[in-house]
């Protein structure tokens, strides 16, 4: 088993006729993902290397039975693309679009939460999700992943997600699913959603979690690990030596309090029983060691 997506997941690509959508949509199909259609308003009836293109998500869902969508559209179209997918009954939306205005993002997050509780959004500004050997939605290079498990990966940073996959695959340790949740302020799917899914997945035996400075998602994840995870978790937090980020003024400082520094996050995770590594390579090594002892 894998979490969220597997070999049976039928995927639409919103923005398939754009250069990024085409490149990654075709790459996902070549990996073995069931890419069953594309959506571009005004280009219905055409195709991209045999993948039929529809004018709307609704038409595409009726014609193909797709349940997942990969959104690769420019920032100004992202909000309507996400909401269109949810309204058409898509239950898993992967949005890789970067630079979406924060108010658009919190608006569609809250609309999904209120009106479409059955739709899970991954991202925005994320690399996507890969269940190695079964399904790859997004921009991850499939060749750095190794099928067969037993490790689940969840990460906020795109390139560090690739680094994590690579470190484990080099060490001969496969992955069940690797989820890039993205680094934007309002991610549709968070660490806890993924930790809970990995905890429930019988094939996943351990979880590698990669966080970074800012926000309080890692601290919340630490509390979840302490209270609800029976499977071992190895973590790495990027940004110990990073310069202090852009100040959000006094209001921001009050909202986050002392939370948000790499040290606070590492301390919280260590206290929760997670293994804390100081760089991605060490995280990989610790996980390889842990898996060999399982």
């Amino acid at each position: 088993m894998a979490i969220f997506v597997d070999e049976n997941t039928k995927v639409l690509v919103q923005g398939l006729t754009g250069s990024q959508g085409r490149f990654h949509g075709l790459r996902n199909r070549a990996y073995g993902t069931k890419v069953v259609g594309g959506v571009t308003p005004g280009k219905g009836g055409t195709d991209v290397e045999g993948i039929p293109v529809f004018d709307s998500v609704e038409e595409a869902v009726v014609a193909t039975g797709a349940t997942a969508s990969f959104i690769s559209v420019p920032p100004r179209f992202a909000a309507s693309a996400v909401l269109e997918a949810a309204a058409a009954g898509i239950t898993f939306v992967v949005c890789i679009t970067e630079f979406i205005p924060a108010h658009d993002e919190s608006m569609f997050y809250n609309v999904l939460r209120r009106d479409f509780p059955g739709t899970r959004l991954l991202g925005p500004n994320c690399p996507g999700i890969i269940s190695p050997g079964r399904c790859n939605i997004g921009i991850t290079s499939g060749d750095i992943a190794l099928p067969g498990g037993p490790v689940g990966i969840v990460s906020r940073s795109g390139t560090l997600t690739y680094q994590a996959l690579y470190e484990l695959s080099q060490g001969g340790v496969g992955q069940t699913t690797c989820v890039g949740i993205g680094g934007d302020p309002v991610p549709g799917t968070n660490f806890i959603d993924c930790l809970a899914a990995f905890e429930a997945d019988p094939e996943t035996k351990a979880v590698l979690m990669i966080g970074e400075i800012g926000g309080s998602e890692e601290e919340n994840a630490a509390a979840f690990i302490r209270d609800h995870m029976s499977k071992p978790v190895v973590t790495y937090i990027a940004g110990v030596t990073a310069p202090p980020g852009r100040k959000m003024g006094h209001a921001g400082a009050i909202v986050s309090g002392s939370l948000g520094t790499a040290q606070a996050k590492m301390d919280a995770l260590r206290e929760a029983g997670a293994i804390v590594a100081v760089n991605p390579t060490e995280a990989g090594e610790k996980m390889v060691e842990l898996v060999s002892s399982l």
């Binding site: 919190s106 997050y109 809250n110 940073s157 970074e212 940004g239």
Partner: protein, 388 residues
């Protein structure tokens, strides 16, 4: 993008939030003109994006033209915590009966907007939050609903603010929410929000952070951006679309993705070195972006070695390698480069680099190995000169 006080006041005024009439200038003579126009007593305020202006002598009350000129001459050019004052804002000095605090920002944990209001304004709100947290009313607003006048009245009603100004404060909160939401701000803050002896409410200060991602739908922001002050290297980086922050170490860092860039800083630190900068190429960087990054780093005299750390996903390693080759053709690099390439088209990228046959370019296969080599080279302080 953080706005200066005068820009923040212009921003507020465009959403109907009352502010004191005034103007901004960099000329002492013009300060006198503005002060005379708005009427004495007037206040001359240094425009810098750093706290503690008042204590540093950057805010002066003046009651005649001679004082206005003297204040302008002393404040303009003044250094406040490393920021040189280039502009001052001049406005009529308000009579103050009471000072409040109001702000709106996104609460990332609740994933809703957070309105904060306190009847204890005019001081650092952090100290109020610590000593007297119940003096701050906090209310979450779902962005789908927005802030209605009814809810604004409830917030004001819970704040301890006297009832005769409730309506005035509530109306300002609604307008502040409009400015935050329609104006695509990450943060709007008024401290102090004042009441005059005539019981009028208005904003005496303005702190605004705009969302850079919303720039495309706000052509009116061009004016704000043109006033943005960056040092030469930061300006060069921003013009090239690079995410760059200068630091004070000796190893120049170039990586793709903020997470990998931060992680590269960490690893350089762990092997005993220190980073000269944070530089994220962003997603899908082509050869020209890589060339620009090397050009930017090359202007930093503290850099003794450069570490390029790329994990290709949407970014292709062969493009990155071509960018390095182009940079070598365009500029004389003053430091050796250590390169680590993995991911999309990595073998092609490594082949391009090894074809260069350069003695100043080193390829390492791991992130740690690359960091060790870069730190070692930086410590050796390889002589600058024509490195090809």
């Amino acid at each position: 993008m953080d706005l200066y006080e005068y820009q923040g006041k212009q921003f507020f005024a465009s959403y109907g939030i009352p502010t004191s009439p005034g103007d901004v200038t960099s000329s002492p003579e013009r300060v006198v003109e503005i002060a005379t126009e708005v009427g004495y007593p007037a206040v001359v305020k240094a425009q810098v994006q750093v706290g503690g202006r008042g204590k540093a002598g950057g805010i002066k009350l003046v009651s005649n033209p001679e004082e206005a000129l003297a204040a302008a001459r002393s404040i303009l050019g003044m250094d406040i915590k490393g920021h040189t004052v280039k502009k001052v804002w001049v406005e009529h000095a308000s009579d103050i009966a009471a000072e409040y605090y109001a702000s709106i920002t996104l609460d990332r944990s609740a994933k809703e907007d957070l309105v904060m209001l306190s009847e204890q304004g005019g001081v650092e709100i952090e100290s109020v939050a610590q000593s007297n947290p119940e003096a701050i009313v906090r209310r979450h607003i779902n962005p789908i609903d927005g802030l209605t006048l009814e809810i604004a009245r409830e917030i004001v009603g819970a704040s301890g603010i006297p009832s005769d100004v409730h309506e005035g404060v509530a109306e300002i909160l609604v307008k502040l929410y409009e400015a935050y939401s329609r104006g695509d701000a990450d943060l709007v803050e008024i401290n102090p929000l004042i009441v005059t002896p005539e019981r009028k409410v208005h904003a005496l200060d303005a702190k605004v952070t705009l969302d850079d991602n919303a720039f495309y739908r706000h052509p009116e922001w061009d004016e704000f951006r043109s006033a943005e002050e960056l040092d030469g290297r930061e300006r060069l980086a921003k013009d090239r679309g690079l995410n760059y922050i200068g630091l004070d170490g000796s190893v120049g860092i170039i990586a793709n993705g903020a997470g990998l860039a931060m992680s590269t800083l960490d690893v350089v630190n762990q092997v005993g070195g220190s980073a000269a900068n944070f530089l994220d190429l962003g997603g899908g960087a082509g050869a020209d972006v890589m060339t620009a990054a090397l050009e930017v780093i090359n202007t930093d005299p503290n850099v003794r070695a450069v570490m390029v750390n790329i994990f290709g996903g949407i970014t292709r390693c062969d493009d990155v390698a071509r960018g390095i080759v182009n940079a070598l053709e365009k500029v004389t690099l003053s430091s050796p480069i250590v390169i680590r390439l993995d991911g999309t088209n990595a073998p092609e990228g490594r082949a391009i680099i090894s074809d260069l046959n350069s003695e100043a370019i080193f390829v390492e296969s791991t992130m740690i190995g690359a960091a060790r080599r870069a730190v070692e080279l930086a410590e050796k302080g390889v002589a600058s000169g024509d490195i090809r």
